[in-house]
Assembly symmetry: C2
Homo-oligomer: 192 residues x 2
Amino acid sequence: MKIVGVGCGEGMLTEEGERVLAKAKVIYGSGRSIDLVRAFIPAEAEVFEITDYKALRTLPDDAVVLSTGDPLMAGLGYLPGEIISGISSMQAAFARLHAPWTNVAVVNAHGKNHQDAVYRVVHDIAAGHSVFLIADPDFSVEELARSLPESVTIAVCEDLGYPYERIAEGTAKNPPKVLSKLFCIVAGYNEQ
Amino acid sequence: MKIVGVGCGEGMLTEEGERVLAKAKVIYGSGRSIDLVRAFIPAEAEVFEITDYKALRTLPDDAVVLSTGDPLMAGLGYLPGEIISGISSMQAAFARLHAPWTNVAVVNAHGKNHQDAVYRVVHDIAAGHSVFLIADPDFSVEELARSLPESVTIAVCEDLGYPYERIAEGTAKNPPKVLSKLFCIVAGYNEQ
């Protein structure tokens, strides 16, 4: 099996990803991931939208599985097989902010205890990291902001990779509002 | 100016990166970055190997600058202009290890105080992160290993993206040897 990261938006498939798709006979992916690489799928390939994620482990050896972003960043990289890296939403977020991620710490708050995630962010920023937080719709930016020193930068990156993506920047004192259910947070970054 | 991440090895240029290069008239890059994307450089484009990194800030608006890996990960992303993300050595390292980076913390030890970097790694691993460390030739894996609990996984990833790349895995108790000057370290990862 090959697990191909298709990136978090249009135009992010790598040359290696293209080569794997060009030879693929059986392709599995979410509707979103299939849409992103449709132009590179051979006419004769069989394409299946994934309905049962548990069944993916038993796919044949020559199957190609698409994963949005990078398969190893909250993606399908837990499946056995070769990983083809893709551009993750983390990279897109830092690119929009024009901020380096040479010192980033990633905190996954999606479906996790949010208080614990806030604690981790506070801790990582105190240790000198910038933080990329994978949020879920219920995560409160205000609560995070209240736990951080006032001057710490906070950006909300919504619907990254979609035509209607939105970046809102602020600080812990004046945190940005969240307007979408699909968002991530960058905190403690330094624009260049 | 556009700063294009060309990835850390062959075949990692994205579709968007290809599109930018296809229209480029003036391209600047290191010898390595130019080699990686030579097939995508138009015959009529002027290509310059960078000799004076300071002069890059004053390049014309239509110049394209190549950056190996991702421009915002220890790359040329500090230059003004649009960033096109690329696959970084961090992603390649985790892909080779088949380990998720959903909880990674990046520590940059390149040209920095190594004792301080070791302290940061110990701290980040205790906080639940896996760590990607950007090393320089003098960084001691043995010294890092002595500071970590014995069971912590340590991998040395050498010459990532080159045909002769090498991955050596161990633990803090039995750390892998370093055989190259170009390497990075992943610690506290969990293979899947």
